[in-house]
């Protein structure tokens, strides 16, 4: 490459060229490799996606027990983001709609986790005792109520509203995310008219069928994430 003397000798030429090619191809391969490694990890931090592994989580429930998705492998898991003072959440609890879904889940062997991502001082934040009291007084039937005051689990799932529903199949794949039903209102009488997206999703998974409307619009109050 840089030979000043033009009287190069035959025996050396192969080595000469080999060195050159080695260097340059190493360089170009590194370019390509750089490009390829650039491809691989790009989806890791992105928002959850349907038919992809659901983001892992570890959170303490209202009984002090640590729940993690890894431990629940083999079970279908339903996630419900909640805030008991949000009018949209109240619509579903006051009418008994949410409790009915929770019982339906329990009957089908589905683990139902209610998640509270409100930090202290924000609407919906509760002590573990208050969480249990709410479950009792509302006759709710979740498997557990997870407390996520730092919003880590909420952000991992990109949960934006209360309620915001997710369904994870036994293989840990996210199969539903979105609204509880199709009519975004606080009116109780809309329940009957609405398409019950989440109920349909649970039924489909229980039967081993694909979920028809796997991504729908979540509606409700915004999740009151901590700003710190």
């Amino acid at each position: 490459m840089t030979d000043i003397r033009s009287k190069a000798k035959l025996a050396d030429l192969p080595f000469d060229r080999r060195t050159l090619m080695l260097g340059t191809t190493a360089g170009l391969t590194a370019v390509a490799a750089g490009g390829l490694t650039a491809l691989a990890p790009s989806s890791a931090s992105a928002a959850p996606q349907i038919n992809k592994p659901a983001p892992d989580f570890t959170a303490v429930d209202s009984n002090g027990k640590t729940q993690s998705l890894a431990d629940l492998r083999g079970k279908v898991v339903a996630l419900e983001w909640t805030n008991h003072d949000c009018p949209y959440v109240r619509k579903h609890y006051n009418t008994g709609n949410m409790q009915a879904l929770q019982r339906q889940a329990a009957d089908a062997g589905i683990v139902w986790l209610s998640v509270i991502s409100s930090p202290p001082g924000e609407q919906g934040n509760v002590t573990p005792e208050k969480a249990n009291e709410l479950t009792q007084t509302r006759k709710a039937a979740p498997t557990a109520v997870l407390l996520d005051p730092k919003g880590q689990m909420g952000r991992a799932y990109d949960a934006r509203t209360t309620p915001h529903m997710f369904l994870i199949n036994a293989e840990g794949t996210l199969v539903y995310m979105g609204g509880i039903d199709s009519i975004p209102s606080t009116r109780a009488d809309d329940l009957e008219k609405a398409t019950p997206y989440f109920r349909d999703a649970m039924a489909a998974v229980a039967k081993g069928e694909p979920v028809k409307n796997a991504v729908t619009r979540p509606y409700g109050c915004s999740v009151k994430y901590t700003t710190s």
């Binding site: 009287k7 050396d12 340059t24 370019v31 490799a33 750089g34 975004p184 606080t186 619009r217």
Partner: protein, 731 residues
């Protein structure tokens, strides 16, 4: 709250405008006086909560049979409380209004005023603060009887939120007299409508299209009036949920006549469906207007050009010419210097050679440059097709590449120093093959020139390369090849005009001196790359790089002994080969090293900057703080020079402090998808990159890649000033 002040300001404006709009009703003043009916404020009794005072208003105080007029739900909101647009964003819900009208009357839909963005942490909502009117057109039946009254009843429900949300509802009644002449409502009611009308969506005069690119969407708007001076901000409000990720920042880029917004695809984006919505455009005076757009969706990626910018507005030959000039300038860039060294020695060699040889060497060198450019373009295109945005100079983000490069440069340096010779061996050879060797040398010199030069291309070519990479494949290749020709031009010229070669000095002892001197830029580059490696993977990288360097030196020395010895030097050659193998073994070690584990030397307590993150940038902008963003990398020499000579100087740092500017620095030494995406949103693919976000959440000003103190301070001054004159009307 900037929003509040704005609305107050606007209503002031429209009081005046209202006087003008009263000019027409003045004609009916006589009628009015005769009828002895004063204009009455037509506003229903209010439904009041601590959050909202809601009424039903009418813009007509008296209606005539067949007249079309407007009623509206008027909401006066307490500070920080908001109600929603028809697409409420991530949370919330739009108001619902049900009208009951006399038989034969008809009503239209709500004409939704253009909304503002109302972020809440990672959630983005679209709605209104302060005061808003939701207008609906109503037509009085032709057989309505003057003297009677026209009763409008409204049942409305709305959700009002601050951090918490409260559903509210109200029933409203208006009895509007029916007469022989129309009478407009009193000025305060007109003013309320007028305020809402400043947000009334206008029909868009522009052609718009939406192009999906992986997880992203590019919204392109074309119109001659879309210039950098006329447009200071833009935001796309999709009419329905799921088209666009509402919370993702929308990065604006503008070239005259073309506006592009980089959007994140929503969860249910469907290229078959409509993606209509409102484009909010904020002009130089800080006034925002909303335009209804229904962009066509280009489904076949590559068939449409998603980010036209410079490329589309310039004829192809001009684009190529600029790329060629860019390539030519590359010869003068600091990191091409090691390559210049190679070239200088090569030219020195040529001065003694035959004419035909000179020509061929030039041709081979050019070919090498072009092949390297084509390979780089191809790799970038392939990776881009995979949906990941990589940056120009990205190969320097791979520690493997950096270590390999430093050893290669060391080996070249040792060769120049005379430790070993390339192509000097035992046994005789024909002139033919020697020539071939020379040509292969020229070819690979060309390849090397490009590979080493890439980090320097960004300053001059950053924007053009960014545009090229979003352009159709053939244009992209054309630009890269034109750049390659530019880089090769000085050398190729020697081939085309052999007279120049003849004018070159005769070979002599000076060549040996020159060659030896040229070894030092090589060593310097190798040393710099070791430092880059230390930034990437810390002290472990330095250990590996230096051990490798030792082995390379050993190999070179051994090989040199074999060359100078009398025998065949099998032992020396064997040792040299073993050393090279050991070096390659070290490279494997690097593979396992985790990038990012670098001991960052500068993030100490005394640091005058904060590390860049999108979240931090968004938070600061929401607070209305001015922000200066600097994207840098250890392998970007221009970046480091800019920092030393400009950004870190007392004058600039003082200017930052005086204006309360938060200095965010992003380090792209290792691959970082967040920074990659950020640069892409500006249509850039390389470093350096500097952007200034003036106070008040205004849109950023992108600074040129080569900075001077006066320029930076001047730019801060200019941007801050225009910001203080025109507070944003759209948050």
């Amino acid at each position: 709250m900037p929003g509040r002040g704005t609305v107050a300001r606007m209503s002031g404006v429209f009081d005046r405008r209202n006087l003008m709009s009263l000019a027409l009703p003045m004609a009916t003043l006589a009628v009015l006086l005769l009828a002895a009916k004063p204009t009455v404020a037509l506003e229903s009794t209010a439904t009041t909560s601590p959050r909202v005072t809601a009424t039903l208003i009418s813009d007509a105080a008296q209606v005539t049979p067949g007249q079309t007029f407007r009623v509206g739900l008027r909401q006066k909101l307490a500070l920080h409380w908001h109600t929603y647009w028809k697409n409420s964003g991530d949370a919330g819900a739009p108001p619902e209004i049900r009208l009951s009208l006399p038989d034969g009357a008809s009503a239209g839909e709500i004409v939704w005023p253009g909304p503002d963005r109302i972020p809440a942490g990672p959630v983005m909502n679209y709605g209104y603060e302060n005061e808003i009117v939701f207008p609906i057109s109503v037509t009085v039946p032709r057989d309505a009887q003057p003297g009677q009254s026209f009763a409008v009843r409204a049942e409305a429900e709305w959700l009002v939120c601050e951090r918490e949300c409260i559903p509210e509802k109200g029933s409203f009644t208006l009895d509007i007299p029916i007469g022989d002449a129309a009478v407009a409502a009193a000025s305060d009611i007109q003013a309320a409508f007028a305020t809402a009308d400043t947000r009334k969506p206008l029909s868009s005069p522009w052609t718009t299209r939406l192009a999906p690119e992986g997880d992203a969407l590019a919204l392109t708007v074309e119109g001659a009036d879309l210039t950098r001076t006329a447009v200071k901000g833009a935001y796309f409000y999709p009419a329905t949920w799921g088209v666009v990720d509402h919370a993702a920042p929308q990065q604006l880029s503008l070239s005259d006549g073309v506006l592009t917004l980089a959007l994140a695809k929503g969860q249910t984006f469907n290229p078959e469906a409509k993606a209509d919505g409102l484009l909010a455009v904020t002009d130089g005076g800080g006034v925002t207007r909303w335009f209804e757009i229904n962009p066509s969706i280009s489904t076949a990626p590559g068939s449409a050009n998603p980010a036209p910018s410079v490329i589309e507005t310039l004829p192809l030959w001009q684009t190529a010419l600029f790329a060629f000039l860019g390539g030519l300038i590359l010869n003068l860039m600091p990191c091409v210097f090691p390559v210049l060294a190679i070239k200088a020695t090569a030219i020195a060699k040529l001065s003694g050679g035959a004419l035909r040889e000179v020509r061929l060497a030039g041709a081979y060198y050019t070919l090498g440059v072009l092949v390297a450019f084509a390979a780089l373009a191809g790799t970038l295109l392939a990776v881009r097709a995979g949906g990941t945005a990589v940056g120009w100079g990205f190969q320097f983000q791979s520690p493997l590449f950096v270590a390999g490069m430093s050893w290669l440069l060391l080996a070249i340096g040792l060769n120049l120093s005379g430790v070993f010779e390339v192509g000097l061996g035992v046994g005789g050879t024909g002139q033919q093959l020697a020539q071939k060797s020379g040509h292969a040398g020229s070819f690979f010199t060309g390849l090397l020139a490009v590979v080493v030069a890439t980090p320097c291309t960004a300053p001059f070519m950053g924007a053009a390369i960014g545009a090229a990479l979003t352009a159709p494949v053939y244009i992209c290749l054309l630009i890269f090849l034109a750049m390659g020709l530019g880089l090769a031009a000085p050398y190729a010229l020697l081939g085309i005009f052999p007279g120049l070669a003849r004018a070159l000095p005769r070979p002599g002892a000076w060549m040996v001196r020159l060659r030896q001197a040229m070894a030092f830029p090589m060593y310097a580059s190798a040393a710099w790359l070791v430092w880059v490696l230390s930034q990437q993977i810390g002290d472990f990288g330095v250990l590996i790089a230096l051990s490798g360097a030792l082995l390379v030196a050993l190999a070179a020395w051994m090989y040199g002994i074999a060359q100078h010895g009398t025998g065949r030097g099998l032992v020396s050659r064997g040792l040299a080969t073993a050393a090279i193998a050991g070096t390659l073994g070290l490279l494997v070690q690097l593979n396992g090293a985790t990038p990012g584990a670098a001991a960052r030397s500068e993030t100490a307590a005394g640091a005058n900057y904060e590390p860049f993150s999108n979240a931090r940038l968004e938070a600061l902008r929401r607070e209305g703080k001015p922000v200066f963003v600097n994207m840098t990398a250890a392998w970007c020499i221009t970046c480091l020079v800019n920092e030393r000579t400009t950004l870190s100087t007392d004058a600039v740092q003082q200017a930052f402090r005086d204006r309360g500017i938060v200095y965010l620095k992003g380090d792209w030494t290792n691959r970082d998808p967040e920074i990659g995406a950020y640069l892409r949103s500006f249509n850039r693919d390389g470093l350096p990159f500097y952007a200034f976000y003036p106070a008040g959440g205004r849109d950023p000003v992108v600074l040129p890649p080569v900075l001077t103190e006066a320029m930076v301070v001047g730019e801060l001054e200019r941007a801050s000033k225009s910001a203080s004159i025109a507070p944003p009307s759209n948050r």
